[in-house]
């Protein structure tokens, strides 16, 4: 695959152009490019650019949504071929996501889900008004690496602690990292309730999820070394 095709893919993500992204994906497959290579060399760097531009204040939420949509369009073309070849895109991690009990605010949580998906995470979005038990049950079912709990209200923010307690009761806390976010949430609050991390916005949530995955891998490796 020529370099300029990868840069066109990358650009289609930055431009938030789903039609271009899927056309380029089809052309790549027709030219015999391995789907995983197109993903890793073309589209993922595009999402990386988007994250950087957002952090610099050069891109805005609607741009990111469009980029995520372009990523989804490319993946819709590439994933069936990937599966047909007997492979799959390595997941960056499995995340269970939801807005805490008593809270029906969705936008922030959905943004996080969209961006995590675009960055290669497998996301299970439980929606809004989710109890701690539901978080725990889903985390157990999908063997979640991370549980993300959103809250917009100071009153419902307290229920983030309840989710952590539910994970503890279900015996999952050691395997699952918990990240929290939402307008009233702060780093201090995250520490206070024993969460593993706090993200101030959707892009930071992606960075945090990656950090948590690295930490998880490190812990697992250390455990393996110690038991060896």
């Amino acid at each position: 695959m020529p370099e300029n095709s990868y840069s066109a893919m990358r650009q289609s993500i930055v431009d938030g152009a789903p039609d271009t992204a899927s056309d380029l994906a089809r052309q790549a497959l027709a030219a015999g490019v391995a789907p995983l290579e197109a993903i890793n060399e073309g589209y993922v760097p595009g999402m990386h650019d988007v994250g950087e531009q957002f952090a610099r204040g050069q891109m805005f939420l609607p741009d990111m949504m469009a980029s995520a949509e372009a990523m989804r369009a490319a993946m819709t073309v590439l994933e069936p071929e990937l599966k047909r070849l007997g492979g799959e895109r390595p997941s960056a991690g499995t995340v269970v996501l939801g807005t805490t009990k008593g809270d029906i605010h969705e936008i922030g949580k959905t943004l996080v889900g969209t961006l995590l998906t675009a960055h290669g995470f497998s996301v299970h979005d439980l929606g809004v008004d989710v109890s701690g038990e539901k978080f725990a049950a889903k985390a157990s079912e999908v063997k979640a690496d991370i549980v993300g709990v959103s809250a917009l209200l100071t009153t419902t923010m307290r229920n983030q602690k309840g989710v952590i307690e539910s994970l503890e009761r279900a015996g999952l806390r050691a395997q699952v990292k918990v990240m929290v976010g939402g307008a009233p949430v702060s780093r201090k609050w995250a520490e206070e309730i024993g969460a593993d991390g706090y993200a101030k916005d959707a892009m930071s949530a992606v960075a945090l999820a990656r950090e948590l995955m690295e930490a998880k891998t490190r812990t697992a490796n250390n455990a393996a070394l110690e038991s060896a």
Partner: protein, 488 residues
């Protein structure tokens, strides 16, 4: 629809003008000997230094004032439109003190402070023009006016709101501007600067002010009358009475100016204030002061003239909630009033002090005011129904193409001076820290827009020659290498 603020109805404006025309005839206007012959030649009686201007003469003068003119940037691009409802902002001018960036305490301003302010204002699109913002205490007082203009011209391409400190020094400033513009004709054709000229309240055109009016008119360089009634002290206590006095001072000044050269550009400008009856201060942040500014401009607009006012200044001594509340409110009011040039940003402490940090905060208030007067536009064929046609009740407007296409037009994005939550709930640093960071960011990105080398050499030679007359041995805030290399 462009939103507008109006404080006076038509009958009140007409009453104001009727009384203003009465005042310039009786008791009349104090004028300087420099203009007596000029006025007498037009049939105006002048006795004991008081001119009694007939309404008909004044009305003829008002008729000959250009309804619209431009100030140009260094490249000859029209950058400021005086006339109709165009709105521009520039930093406040002629301040003695600066709020020290480190200590945040007022101290006498120096040339380096002025240069920093000019560099920051150059980088902020909210400021259409520069001003000769400070009096530099490291420069001999007798050359303070042209030296600060030199520093602004040296470090900026934008138009400049300036002024002379005396009758004689005006010619030095005009010579400097002519050199920078490439000659007197070039300066007249594309004026880069406008000169504030201030009557002394009530109704007194001093020797200095009278002479400036006449000489500017003859030089073809725009003048801006800055009439300053102090309601309750040097003007009637009522706001409407002070507006009458303001109108009388402007009309009499315009008469002198237009008699010197009919058709020369001049602006109906104002820096009124109420007189605080407890402290004896002149609060620039008082709502009544802003009301005076707006009302004075309304009278000028009624006459079809270009307008100016002094707003966006606060009265506290440090950057605090009071100062920014006052500055933000008057920025909005001035913009809604459609005032062509609104001077005053960056200033606090009753105009005694400038702050570069405040200048960047004020720029955010100004940007909001500018957004406000853009108004609310119907940007799509149906206002909402077609978008609902796509989303149904899902609420997913963030994903719509219309959202992405239009949000930049609908929303103004402030700099990090304004905390919009980007720092998260752990909080951004306080406003002063954010403003300081913004100042540093702008200064780091600034590059001096150099003139052609021969023009710069001429300017330096001029500055060294004029500076030597006041014993100035070097040129503060112009680096020694620049000045010696260019002058040699």
């Amino acid at each position: 629809m462009r939103p507008k603020l109006q404080l006076l109805d038509k009958p009140l404006v007409e009453r104001i003008l009727i009384e203003a025309f009465e005042l310039i005839h009786d008791p009349g206007v104090r004028v300087a000997p420099y203009v007596v012959e000029l006025l007498r030649a037009a049939g105006i009686s002048v006795q004991d230094g008081v001119a009694r201007i007939p309404e008909a003469v004044a009305r003829r003068a008002l008729q000959s004032v250009p309804r619209e003119f431009y100030l140009y940037d260094r490249n000859g691009v029209a950058a400021v439109r005086y006339g109709r409802d165009a709105v521009h902002f520039d930093p406040g001018s002629s301040c003695l003190n600066i709020l020290d960036p480190e200590t945040q305490k007022a101290r006498p301003a120096e040339s380096g402070d002025l240069v920093r302010l000019v560099e920051v204002a150059e980088m902020l699109p909210q400021y259409a023009a520069q001003s000769t913002a400070m009096v530099c205490n490291d420069v001999p007082a007798e050359i303070g006016d042209w030296y600060r203009l030199l520093l602004v011209l040296w470090h900026s391409k934008k138009p400049v709101v300036t002024g002379a400190f005396s009758a004689s020094s005006l010619h030095v400033l005009l010579e400097l501007l002519a050199i920078e513009s490439g000659g007197g004709d070039a300066l007249r054709q594309h004026p880069r600067a406008i000169f504030d000229v201030c009557p002394s309240p009530p109704l007194n055109w001093s020797e200095f002010a009278s002479q400036n009016l006449v000489d500017l008119a003859r030089a073809g360089v725009p003048a801006e009358i800055v009439s300053m009634p102090l309601a309750g002290a040097t003007a009637p206590v009522t706001l409407s009475g002070s507006v009458v006095q303001h109108a009388a001072e402007c009309i009499s000044g315009i008469t002198i100016h237009q008699l010197a050269k009919a058709g020369a550009p001049i602006v109906w400008g104002a820096a009124p204030a109420i007189f605080d009856m407890r402290s004896g201060k002149t609060p620039m942040g008082a709502i009544e002061t802003a009301m005076l500014d707006v009302a004075c401009a309304e009278v000028g607009k009624y006459l079809g003239l270009p307008t100016h006012a002094y707003m966006v200044a606060g009265d506290g001594r440090v950057i605090d909630a009071q100062v920014e509340m006052e500055s933000g409110m008057s920025a909005v009011l001035g913009a809604l009033a459609g005032i062509n040039m609104i001077s005053g940003a960056g200033m606090l402490d009753f105009l005694a002090c400038h702050s570069i940090e405040k200048l960047v905060i004020d720029a955010e208030a100004i940007a909001s005011a500018q957004r406000l007067i853009e108004g609310i536009e119907p940007r799509t064929e149906t206002l909402a129904t077609a978008m609902f046609g796509q989303t149904g009740l899902s609420g997913e407007f963030l994903k719509l193409k219309e959202t992405r296409d239009l949000f930049r037009k609908e929303q103004h994005f402030p700099s990090a001076v304004v905390d919009r939550g980007l720092a998260g709930s752990d909080g951004a640093p306080d406003i002063l820290h954010r403003a300081r960071a913004r100042v540093e960011e702008l200064l780091a990105a600034y590059e001096r827009p150099a003139l052609a080398a021969n023009r710069e050499a001429e300017i330096i030679a001029f500055a060294q020659r004029e500076g030597a007359k006041a014993g100035l041995m070097n040129l503060p805030a112009i680096s020694p290498t620049e000045s010696s290399a260019l002058a040699s």
